[in-house]
Symmetry: C2
Subunit: 137 residues, 2 copies
DNA sequence: TCTTGAACCTGTAGCAACTACAGAGCCTAA
DNA sequence: TTAGGCTCTGTAGTTGCTACAGGTTCAAGA
């Protein structure tokens, strides 16, 4: 068995490149408590392991789904301390889904109005600019 | 003719209340150059006129449509200096419409994935939490 | 072994678009 | 006249990064 076989640690630039994360953002996630503090070399350089990489990927995927850092913190806490109870995880995700749907509704409202005024501006049938008119109404 | 009839000026709290704008935001829009500096009373209090109110409403409506402050600045410049040429106004609006549509597409992608995992979490058919699994993939 | 240049370290500032506070001053109605 | 509710200024906080300065360490080549 090769349990605890010492895997070659990753420098910050390496973990950043492998995950596609910005170099500075890696340190930022550590600062805000999403990524655990990695061990250091004698000179003080961070030495990341496979678990850090795994966790960083988790964070980045969650960000792609639009989760806030607070929500991600909550999800990671569920993972770390409770072995990820599906019901609670689902609650976090469902609440976030609601937020996403609200935002879509907001943006669609904007889209409708904008399409409308752009079309009116385009056809040149009005002496005054319809968008400006609409905003000054 | 009652040109320049002295309309009773508005205090900051009054213009805020009438437009629905946050009190502090009124001052903020002045600071960033969207709202012109109003005349002051002897004691230094701002005294807004009808034109300020009109302009503030314009800004707030544009914000509701998702325009950035830079875009609103550009629109107001077109209004102030060029009498709002419809073609240029339309360009600003069309570009913004594109941004809005991009955001909608992003959010819909998130929505699709989230709906999916929430449904999988809900039906309890998997031993591990599907959302957590998906994020750690 | 020495050197050099890349990568790292910390702390801080900047972005958007507000929002909120502290500590001071003004204004008006009773 | 005075109370208390405005207003004033400047600054700090929010979210989620991103970028810099000025200094240190590391690793590869000579």
């Amino acid at each position: 068995m090769t349990v605890h076989a010492p895997v070659k640690p990753l420098q910050r630039a390496e973990i950043a490149k492998r995950t596609g994360c910005n170099l500075e953002t890696v340190r930022y996630y550590e600062k805000v408590g999403l990524l655990p503090e990695p061990p250091r070399t004698q000179g003080g350089h961070r030495a990341y392991g496979a678990e850090h990489e795994r966790r960083l990927r988790f964070i980045l995927r969650a960000r792609e789904l639009g989760f806030t850092l607070d929500e991600i913190r909550a999800l990671l806490l569920l993972v770390d301390e409770r072995n990820a109870p599906c019901g609670q995880v689902r609650n976090v995700a469902a609440a976030h889904l609601g937020d996403v749907q609200d935002k879509i509704a907001d943006l669609k409202r904007m889209e409708r109005v904008l399409k409308d005024v752009v079309a009116q501006c385009a056809d040149g049938s009005r002496p005054e600019c319809p968008l400006i008119e609409a905003l000054f109404r």
